[in-house]
Symmetry: C2
Subunit: 244 residues, 2 copies
């Protein structure tokens, strides 16, 4: 069923009017009066709505009862990724959103080649957030993951370490597996931290460990920087029984 | 350590000479006499080799004892994918190879938009195999996954059904989860079948089931056709303890 993210106040009224992009999209989909769409506030709430009137550029719907979005994982997984090249980060935003990430956080690493300055960063964040919105719509998410940029690795490590399961993936870790970290204790929040193209430095891994993160392996194969977080996210959602 | 795929007879002699692309690559990496590289036959066997002589376009190495590649999963996972658009399939080949897939198989589906004819298919297969070789080298695989094209969905379903765990992922399956299929019985081979952009038809799902495949859900979020097989592969490798 077609799904549109709207402001939360639209869900609280008995009827709502969609305009602009949403109205245009409904026209493209050739929806008719009487057909149903889902309106979602992007914060985990949604309502089944019925199209009542179709005018050019304006679609009026009857708003049904508001419920919790059924497609949201109970485990909240945050992706923490050292600034990779832009196209790779955009790939991760799209795929992590589809898979069910709660938020996607980027930060500079010692080996980050790409580090946008403050001005270009704010434009990029806008663009990245749009990618998350679009992927959330397409995949039927009830929550739009926030894309955030932090100023430093240290800041990222301290924030990530607050998760119940705070895992940093490092290719030189050969002892502790993700599975051991997952099975160590129950969790409702998870942080998945990975490095940029050139990997994390030993100092960064140590700093993350000092901040309270668990260093884990994802196995003997060397995953690209854009593959590792999505593999870990898939595995953690599987382990938490959220791929069901 | 740099890794090169060579013909298997090169591993059986005490010394070997690398030429062409491999010699050029060794030059680019600025490797010196005495440094080590891994030669691998792409069939699961590898040898630690020491550079003995560097001449223009020719690198001679002393070949060490041949061992089983340590980076190969014990579980052999085959990806079966309905022909998607070319760029998406290339993405899946690269990522599935990195993650540890054993083979990658493509076949026409009722809703496949892209269906190369016989002539263009043989060129494409060559190109696809190169993507697998390159991803296998970069990720340190000991085995190069074969990329195969089958003629029909029926052929794919019959072949896939021979795996111990033969899972078809379908967005309209809401009862059986991948986890239930994984936990039903031990497995050393797994088939992961997913559809093209427009999804599988009910008839295809029924045919796969008749062939002996298990229809599973990957959860309530709608994954793109290129995301679903990689999510399932990550989850199955995690479940089989192969991400350790």
């Amino acid at each position: 069923m077609p799904r549109f993210f709207v402001s939360d106040d639209m869900l609280s009224r008995p009827s709502a009017v969609l305009e602009g992009e949403h109205a245009a999209h409904i026209k493209v989909l050739r929806l008719r009066v009487g057909e149903q769409i889902t309106l979602c506030d992007g914060m985990g709430h949604e309502a089944l709505c019925t199209i009542e009137d179709l005018a050019p550029g304006q679609v009026q719907v009857a708003v049904g009862p508001v419920t919790d979005a059924s497609s949201e994982p109970a485990v909240r997984c945050s992706i923490y990724m050292g600034f990779p090249k832009a196209d790779k980060f955009e790939h991760v935003i799209q795929k992590a959103t589809e898979l069910g990430a709660h938020e996607i956080i980027v930060f500079p690493c010692a080996r980050s080649i790409s580090r946008p300055d403050t001005k270009s960063l704010s434009k990029k964040l806008e663009r990245w957030q749009k990618i998350a919105v679009s992927a959330a719509e397409q995949s039927g998410r009830g929550y739009i993951p926030q894309v955030l940029a932090l100023d430093s690795f240290a800041q990222a490590a301290v924030r990530a370490a607050q998760a119940d399961l705070a895992a940093l993936f490092y290719e030189n870790e050969h002892t502790r597996s993700l599975r051991q970290a997952v099975e160590a204790a129950p969790f409702t929040t998870a942080a998945i931290m990975t490095g940029p193209e050139g990997g994390l430095t030993e100092e960064e891994v140590q700093a993350a460990q000092d901040a309270g993160m668990t260093v884990c392996s994802l196995g003997p194969r060397i995953l690209r920087c854009e593959t590792a977080p999505l593999c870990a996210l898939s595995a953690i959602l599987y382990a938490a029984d959220e791929l069901a």
